[in-house]
């Protein structure tokens, strides 16, 4: 795996993703061309079935394209075997899931330390947890935390390994609007401060205003890539 420092965060050319559902072949992505620069906060918008989550999964190495060229941080993902994809996810990508996906039998601190240990440094888990405002909740199990708190733990967990790329799939989708805004602000601030490239999938059009880049998808195609000259901080969004 090679990663040239000047390569784009994401480079996609003619990416197609097909699924077989019984006798029917469904094209989730129909030739996506995309280039995202490093350090950008990318918001991916589109209606249900537009292919945004599929594209996110391909970028995250959870799935592989049926055809086309896809490179993340200079690493071509096409044809990587399971071991290489695992290594890629370990070294390159941080995930924030809609349903938080914390390990229920580990405390907040341990959830973060889990990934710290994976990359060989669990010592920063407490610091990360503190940075998301949960130092006093470190020894609570996920079930003892609110949804917003759980998502903040998930953000700390994603950042503890200092990934160059963070993927967030509807990170506020399971939260009420107020909590969602708080979590959004935290995600925006922490990733900006660390210079992490973020790709966030959302239904919420409002969040388009916080992205440096806004990618619109429809029916498996990228229909628009909009560069935002003056993105807002989430806290400045109305409502």
């Amino acid at each position: 795996m090679t990663a040239a420092a000047d390569s784009p965060a994401v480079y996609a050319r003619g990416v197609v993703k097909e699924y077989r559902l019984g006798p029917v072949t469904v094209q989730a992505l129909r030739g996506v061309d995309l280039e995202l620069r490093r350090g950008a906060f990318v918001v991916m918008l589109g209606p249900s079935g537009s292919g945004k989550t599929t594209l996110l999964n391909l970028i995250g190495g959870l799935d592989q394209p049926s055809s086309g060229e896809l490179a993340v941080m200079g690493t071509g993902l096409g044809g990587l075997d399971d071991v290489a994809l695992t290594a890629y996810r370990k070294e390159t990508v941080g995930f924030v899931f809609q349903l938080f996906n914390l390990v229920p039998t580990l405390t907040a601190l341990e959830n973060v330390a889990l990934i710290g240990e994976l990359v060989g440094d669990a010592s920063r888990a407490g610091e990360l947890l503190a940075s998301v405002g949960l130092a006093d909740r470190a020894n609570q199990f996920p079930a003892q935390l609110s949804g917003g708190e759980q998502q903040r733990v998930a953000i700390a967990r994603a950042l503890v390994k200092e990934p160059p790329l963070l993927l967030a799939d509807e990170p506020t989708g399971a939260l009420d609007s107020e909590t969602g805004a708080t979590v959004m602000q935290l995600l925006w601030e922490e990733t900006r401060r660390r210079g992490v490239t973020v790709i966030m999938v959302t239904h919420n059009e409002e969040y388009a205003k916080v992205g440096d880049l806004v990618v619109h998808l429809r029916s498996g195609h990228v229909t628009d890539v909009h560069q935002e000259a003056h993105p807002l901080a989430p806290r400045d969004l109305a409502g």
Binding site: L62, F97, L99, T105, L106, L114, I115
Partner: protein, 797 residues
């Protein structure tokens, strides 16, 4: 709610069961095997019991019997006058030697029974299986199992020797008798190979003349009105005391019936023990699977409740799920169980040659098995069903249940596991996450492990006891019985034969031991101090060296009659003849391990002096010969030609019999082992598949976050292996106990199996269980490998 909507719910129950796939099948298999085992053992037992009872009824099986030395026929008249007695007969019966000369050429122990050839009696009548009834004084009828095993055919000549008086008979028929369904020679020494113990029925007058007893009888058998047998037997015993009462029994204690009853008891125990293990495991696995379904379907429950289904309907819906799996498992289990019961009964009755044997379905057994299965299904489904129904609709609609309880429960594990690598903490705490599921899974594994271990233990205990008996106790090549002391001079010639390493005189008599708590009959054997041909050991493992005036008793018999070492015990020779009832007080020198062939031991010279020499005839004497096997063969041929020799048994004969019975034991244990593996395997399969299914999102998340497939698989495997280790931790002691409990069913005063569980047994069972864990994990780990990470990370937990 309308019937229509209930129909759709019923369809959902079916589809949910199908969706569980191999887990459903594993659960059904557990229920099926449990029901099947219940039906096999219960129906076989019911069939055999009905067959025996039918045979007893049709052939006037005596309700009470006494054996005396010799009594006038007036004893029979007196017996008929006892209140409750419907009919009584007296018979002349003596033991001697059968000399086979046609195909098999050997001498074996024989019992000669005089019967009225006109068949006027209704008590203990014979069933003629082949041939014709007695018509002359030289005709004889032979017990069919003995005839078959020794290739005796109709028309064969058969010589019989009683106290040196020989008679030749012509075999005219093969018969079955209610007294000898299993040919047991006596209550005191019931075990005999059907090949080495033959019962021959001859003309009554010819028998009396041959025995030289005139019109006297040696046995009185009575039929009584229901419920009077025990009272009648007591009065009979009182009457018999005057004539040298040797032994007595009611139907329950009758030697053949007693052995058959032990068999039936074994079936009864098996019909409870094994189905309970399987049903228990099925219940636990069903509970954990249905709990999983309930959790997965929390949103569905919310929808149902929001749509107007009552909590009761929701509960019934999930109860039905347990009922469906139990019913679907029980149905084939009943059919297969019935089919196997028919086969097993047929095999049994063909060996025993029981005429008009009952071999049919028993609706009560089938109904009980089905009810047992349904109760198992419904009871195990009740908790998950109740939990599903109890979720408030609003909570259910959100799709996730409050896990607050879980975290409280897990607090204590926090410190315990905090030093472990994080990947190890996840599965270990996972055990506390659903404690009831863990508990039930471990319970299922304990059942499987204990069944496996008790089976291994059963085989190890039986083989070890037999090995000990064959290799440590029996050290002779030939065991010779003489018809009288006149045979003893033969020993001098035997001792001088080249290749003979030792000749030891022995004697045997069936004695009655009277202690503080009562009396028991048992074979008393006389041996010489330092006798190398017999390795009799005391309880503490020392060789038994009986001195004059001393007797060594099996531990259990001593307990039954209430004597301890150092006590005096009255020894009576119950089977002496000529109305001389010999009594002798002896000192209990010590206790013996009552394993196979349990006997009491005394000094041979002392016993001859005290008992055998004081009566006539002077049988009961014999010898054990240590020699080379080839020399033994030649010696045997010579000895069997001599009329002073009653019987000659080689160690190889005994080994052959043991091997035959061990083959049956091995098959039985292999079948049980297979059942045990099926039990543990099914539990593990459902535990591991549910465990992985339940944690699919968690495991997928770990994979997404960069953990390797191996690391993720490790967390899944650790949880299952930990449960298996707990299963072993409790299952191994439970199996050890079960082994003891099962073997104790077959314990009598003269025989017991020392519960043995060698280290290899524990290792084997541990290896089987861990191997089954590995197999059961394969499916789950494959699912992990193939899972769609993107989908699984979004799955509901």
């Amino acid at each position: 709610m309308s019937a229509g909507s209930n129909r759709w719910l019923a369809r959902k129950v079916w589809r949910d069961a199908v969706a569980l796939g191999s887990t459903s099948i594993a659960l059904m298999v557990l229920v099926a095997v449990g029901a099947c085992l219940f039906v096999i053992f219960s129906e076989t037992r019911a069939n055999l019991e009905a067959s025996y009872q039918g045979f007893y009824r049709d052939h006037g099986f005596a309700d009470a019997t006494i054996l005396v030395d010799l009594a006038p026929e007036s004893l029979v008249i007196s017996a008929r006058q006892i209140p409750g007695v419907q009919d009584a007969i007296g018979r002349a019966v003596k033991d001697g030697t059968i000399i086979l000369r046609d195909r098999a050429r050997r001498r074996v122990q024989g019992r000669f029974v005089g019967v009225d050839p006109r068949g006027v009696t209704d008590i203990n009548t014979l069933l003629l299986l082949r041939g014709r009834p007695l018509s002359s004084r030289s005709d004889c009828l032979v017990e069919h199992q003995f005839a078959r095993l020794n290739e005796v055919r109709i028309g064969d000549r058969l010589s019989a020797s009683y106290l040196g008086r020989r008679r030749d008979f012509r075999v005219v028929g093969m018969v079955a008798s209610p007294e000898y369904i299993y040919p047991a020679p006596s209550k005191e020494a019931p075990w005999a190979s059907p090949q080495a113990f033959g019962v021959v029925w001859i003309d009554e007058d010819a028998a009396r003349q041959w025995f030289g007893i005139g019109r006297q009888v040696t046995e009185v058998h009575v039929r009584c009105r229901p419920g009077t047998a025990l009272g009648v037997l007591e009065i009979l015993k009182g009457l018999g005391e005057r004539y040298g009462l040797r032994s007595w029994w009611d139907q329950r204690e009758q030697p053949s019936n007693h052995l058959l009853s032990m068999d039936l008891q074994g079936f009864q125990a098996l019909s409870v023990m094994f189905p309970v293990l399987f049903m228990f495991a099925a219940a636990l696995s069903l509970y954990s699977s249905l709990t999983r379904i309930g959790r997965l379907q929390t949103g569905v429950v919310g929808f149902l409740r929001a749509s107007g289904f009552s909590a009761r309907q929701v509960m019934w819906h999930y109860l039905l799920q347990g009922g469906l799996i139990a019913g679907a498992g029980a149905t084939p289990g009943l059919f297969i169980g019935h089919w196997l019961a028919v086969l097993m009964t047929a095999k049994y009755v063909s060996v025993l040659h029981l005429p008009n044997a009952v071999n049919r379905a028993h609706p009560d057994v089938l109904l009980a098995a089905f009810s047992l299965s349904m109760v198992t299904g419904l009871v195990s489904a009740w908790l998950p069903a109740r939990a599903a129904a109890a979720i408030p609709p609003a909570v259910a609609m959100r799709g996730d249940r409050d896990d607050e309880d879980m975290t409280r429960r897990m607090r204590w594990l926090l410190t315990l596991t905090s030093r472990l690598p994080v990947l190890w903490r996840i599965p270990l705490r996972g055990l506390a996450r659903r404690p009831s599921r863990t508990l039930f899974a471990v319970g299922g594994l304990v059942s499987g492990t204990s069944l496996l271990l008790s089976t291994v233990g059963m085989y190890a205990s039986i083989t070890s006891t037999i090995d000990g008996f064959m290799n440590k106790t029996l050290r002779y090549e030939l065991d010779v019985a003489f018809i009288s002391r006149a045979g003893e001079p033969l020993l001098q010639a035997v001792a001088e034969t080249a290749g003979v390493d030792g000749v030891y005189r022995t004697c045997q008599l069936i004695a009655r031991f009277r202690g503080r708590k009562g009396s028991r009959n048992l074979t008393l054997m006389g041996i010489q101090p330092g006798q190398r041909s017999l390795g009799v050991q005391t309880l503490d493992g020392r060789p038994c060296r009986p001195a004059p005036g001393e007797v060594w008793l099996p531990q259990k018999l001593a307990g039954a009659i209430g004597v301890e070492p150092g006590d005096a015990v009255q020894v009576e020779w119950a089977f002496s003849s000529r109305q001389r009832f010999v009594k002798q007080r002896m000192r209990v020198a010590g206790l013996l391990d009552p394993s196979l062939g349990g006997m009491a031991y005394g000094n041979v010279d002392d016993l001859e002096r005290s008992f055998l020499d004081r009566t006539w005839p002077d049988g009961g004497r014999g010898a054990q010969i240590i020699c080379d096997p080839e020399v033994g063969k030649s010696l045997r041929r010579q000895l069997e030609r001599d009329d002073l020799v009653a019987a000659c048994i080689s160690i190889q004969d005994i080994r052959d019999e043991v091997e035959t019975s061990l083959r049956v034991t091995l098959i039985f244990c292999t079948v049980l082992l297979a059942f045990g593996m099926a039990l543990a395997g099914a539990v593990l399969h459902s535990v591991s598949s549910v465990g992985i299914l339940e944690r699919l999102r968690e495991l997928a998340t770990l994979r997404s976050l960069g953990f390797s497939a191996q690391a993720t698989a490790l967390t899944a495997a650790v949880e299952i292996y930990t449960m298996a280790l707990f299963g072993l931790l409790f299952g191994l002691p439970a199996g050890t106990w079960l082994n003891r409990a099962y073997l104790s069913l077959y314990e009598t005063e003269t025989m017991s199996f020392e519960p043995v569980l060698p280290l290899w047994g524990y290792l084997l069972v541990t290896a089987i269980v861990l191997g089954l864990v590995a197999c059961s994990l394969r499916g789950g780990l494959r699912r992990l490998q193939l899972m769609d990470l993107a989908q699984a990370t979004k799955a509901r937990e």
